[in-house]
């Protein structure tokens, strides 16, 4: 189980590959039969406005512990082997990856469901705040899209 807050651009697929190597080193190869990966990246539009850049603020300490709690809850609810959560903060450009959630399990149902659970819980509880730069200036995003 790992949680990383990244201050600069990250490459989600290498994060997954690296973490999976570590997982295999810890539990051995052939233990997981399913892995799900969710990647959220920055759009260049939101609520009918062009968005040229974004700043993501967080609460150092609380953000990491909120993400760890969410990963632990997923582990209690489903038989999953491991989770990886990576979230970007700071100045972000369109197309940059913002969030990565990866889950490994023996069978697919747990990996799918736990991944969705982590992502939805992160959206509603993890202390991050987005400020979008639009043609008419900066604006704080007031609520996340429903799904």
């Amino acid at each position: 189980m790992a949680v990383y807050i990244k201050q600069s651009l990250f490459e989600p697929f290498s994060e997954v590959a690296q973490h999976q190597l570590q997982l295999e080193a810890n539990i051995g190869k052939g233990q997981y039969g399913a892995s799900t990966i969710f990647i959220g990246s920055m759009r260049d539009f939101n609520e009918a406005c062009d968005v040229s850049a974004m700043t993501l603020e967080y609460y150092p300490g609380m953000t990491e512990s909120a993400l760890e709690s969410i990963a632990n809850e997923a582990k209690e609810k489903w038989p999953i082997l491991d989770t990886l959560i990576v979230h970007r903060v700071g100045d972000i450009q369109p197309n940059d990856s913002i969030v990565l959630v990866a889950v490994w399990s023996a069978h697919r149902a747990a990996a799918y469901e736990a991944n969705r659970y982590i992502m939805e819980a992160l959206k509603s509880r993890a202390p991050f705040w987005k400020k979008e730069m639009t043609t008419s200036g900066g604006r704080w995003v007031e609520k996340n899209t429903p799904a």
Partner: protein, 77 residues
């Protein structure tokens, strides 16, 4: 013997306060912390509160050396 008070995101910008120290008084609630630091009687709608980095309600009693944070709804992911 003080309480650390933090503000984030839009709330931090509106109030123009990042962090403040407040003298501790026994029986102080999170709402009273808000009132003393901001001078405003009520919390803006939907404001979230965390005490020692755990979500809390405005009537929670705070202790000395606690960290109390106020912030708008979260929008990560």
């Amino acid at each position: 013997m003080s309480i650390t008070v933090k503000f984030f995101a839009g709330l931090r910008e509106e109030l123009n306060i990042d962090e403040a120290q407040l003298d501790f008084v026994t029986g102080l609630t999170a709402l009273q912390v808000w009132q003393k630091v901001t001078g405003q009687p009520t919390l803006p709608t939907k404001t979230l509160i965390a005490v020692n980095q755990e979500y809390a309600s405005e009537d929670i009693t705070v202790n000395e050396n606690d960290e109390v944070a106020f912030f708008p709804p979260v929008t990560g992911g």
